[in-house]
Symmetry: C2
């Protein structure tokens, strides 16, 4: 009874119990439906809770229960449409299950990522989702001994961790295939950073060209950075090299936007003079001029799947699911020649 008049800001179960003339245990039972509470007590508790505007302290609940109903999400950039679409999917399914996301950013920097993850673990998140990044699989596996992990952008399958990739290679093949079918032969590729997805897209480009008996011309492959700026620089380099090409496969949509602007600056029309195809299908790609033909990554769905997988992992179940497929979305930035 000593705790009954706590001086801290919010009302506690003790207050409620005291005012209602019952024990804290009964209040707790009422709150959680753990056991039957007689009608009269229930009513009085209800009214007291209402009068005192009592809200349970989740911190205390978490400490007691050993579960914070919070999951950590490690993204790489808070301002990336790409990551945020997945985030949105994760949020949807986790919120429905009563979880809130603690979002931190690793900025594509392994040591930052590790540090942020430690923070998340210190906060006792019930699970952790890692959106790509620079950590090694070993590091992730090691973290997974302390918290269940779902990783996007790497294949992983352990007791307490699951990771998956979308089939970037296959989708890149499709994209290039499409270009070839439209009559393009001299196809430039603006690469991405040194990262698995980017490499898979490059490989798809190379292999598809070869499969069609088209020589891959090394000077048609230029570096990019998955950002718009890389796209403009790349096109400048391509143009200055004097190489001829009728189409550009950009490693992602952002790169395509930059490429498109560089072309615009030189009065080169898209798609009349040069065709462009992107990768990601960011929302904005529907509204570029011309609307961008690109590979769709179903990121919202990916996020939802991640959420479901997380829930399973937390519940101690085995995770296993169909990886959503990528698909080409044809808009207006590629011309048949």
């Amino acid at each position: 009874m000593k705790k009954a008049d706590s001086n801290s800001g919010s009302t506690t179960v003790y207050e409620v119990a005291r005012v209602a003339g019952v024990s804290v245990a009964t209040v707790s039972r009422y709150l959680n439906g753990t056991a039957r509470v007689s009608d009269d007590k229930r009513k009085v508790i209800e009214s007291v809770i209402d009068k005192l505007n009592y809200k349970p302290n989740m911190l205390a609940q978490s400490l007691k229960m050993g579960s914070s109903r919070t999951i950590g999400v490690l993204t790489q950039s808070l301002v990336s449409d790409y990551f945020n679409e997945a985030m949105s999917g994760i949020d949807q399914t986790m919120k429905a299950a009563g979880y809130a996301p603690l979002i931190v950013s690793g900025h594509w920097h392994a040591s930052d990522e590790a540090e942020r993850i430690e923070l998340l673990i210190a906060r006792r998140v019930d699970g952790l989702v890692i959106l790509t990044g620079k950590l090694t699989d070993e590091q992730i596996l090691s973290f997974s001994e302390r918290v269940p992990i779902i990783a996007f952008g790497r294949e992983l399958s352990a007791k307490n961790a699951f990771g998956f990739c979308l089939d970037n290679y296959k989708a890149a093949c499709e994209a290039v295939e499409y270009l070839v079918m439209q009559g393009h032969r001299a196809i430039a590729f603006i690469a991405g950073p040194d990262q698995a997805d980017a490499r898979a897209r490059l490989a798809g480009y190379r292999d598809t060209l070869e499969r069609h008996g088209i020589d891959v011309n090394p000077s048609l492959i230029v570096p990019g950075d998955f950002q718009e700026l890389g796209g403009v620089l790349a096109v400048n380099q391509l143009l200055e090299s004097g190489q001829r090409f009728s189409a550009i496969f950009a490693a992602n949509d952002l790169t395509a936007y930059g490429a498109r602007l560089a072309l615009y600056r030189r009065n080169i029309r898209v798609p009349e003079d040069i065709s462009i195809i992107g990768f990601d299908d960011l929302h904005s790609s529907m509204y570029t001029t011309p609307p961008l033909t690109t590979v769709r990554q179903p990121l919202l769905e990916v996020g939802q799947r991640i959420g479901e997988a997380m829930l399973k992992l937390i519940g101690g179940q085995k995770v296993r699911f169909e990886v959503p497929p990528l698909s080409l979305v044809v808009r207006e930035s590629v011309r048949r020649i």
Copy 2:
């Protein structure tokens, strides 16, 4: 000593204390530097912490200290570049102060917002930032009795709450002024939703026109929704109305993107045939074709300011700051006629 061998997953202070042969109090003191700890004890504690890989349980700390070192952020959309830039600024300054953000979305729906805020309060966030939204000032003030609040998108000044707006009206005036200076007289306006900022922009449009003795033509004002789709619909409506105009002032950049696409579809060139000016200066606006002339909202800075203000409010200090100014950024979507 009874707690020494807790069975829960992680190591606790008790474990550390036992192995190190000291009391938990001493371990705690070492951890927080609350008091001097003798060199020998310090060393052994250090090594035990290391060996056991002990990490303090922040949940327990929070419960004890009455502070979760977490702030809640209520945004309206997890996938909005606009909100996320501010989010990024908030994250920067709060992270530096050891706070982590719990991000929830209200989807521009008052009852959702209220519900999410309750959730944040239940999780005992130390502060709350509200990015615009549909709540009334009264509601916010009422919430501020339970948690310190910084609000963006409304003027507010109370004991435990502070809110501010950017000067949308003035910036809209500048934008229209610029159009007029470039020789435009027939200027269409694509409005935003029923919301303070959108209204201020409309007012700026109206007043500036009048100030220049230009009649405001009601059929040149068409509705929009702050999204791309609203922009295309608006331009279609404008064009079909048969009204003549040489420039469009879009209530925000997204709207401008949509408008630009609608124009593209009809082979109307920008800026040769019609000029467009936007509002927000989203990152993408640098890469549209042509790059968009627009009003810059320094959202990253806004976020940082919010973070600083939050820290002050949490610290019980008075909040008061210069609201960062908006500014016109001239790119290539407006032509002099």
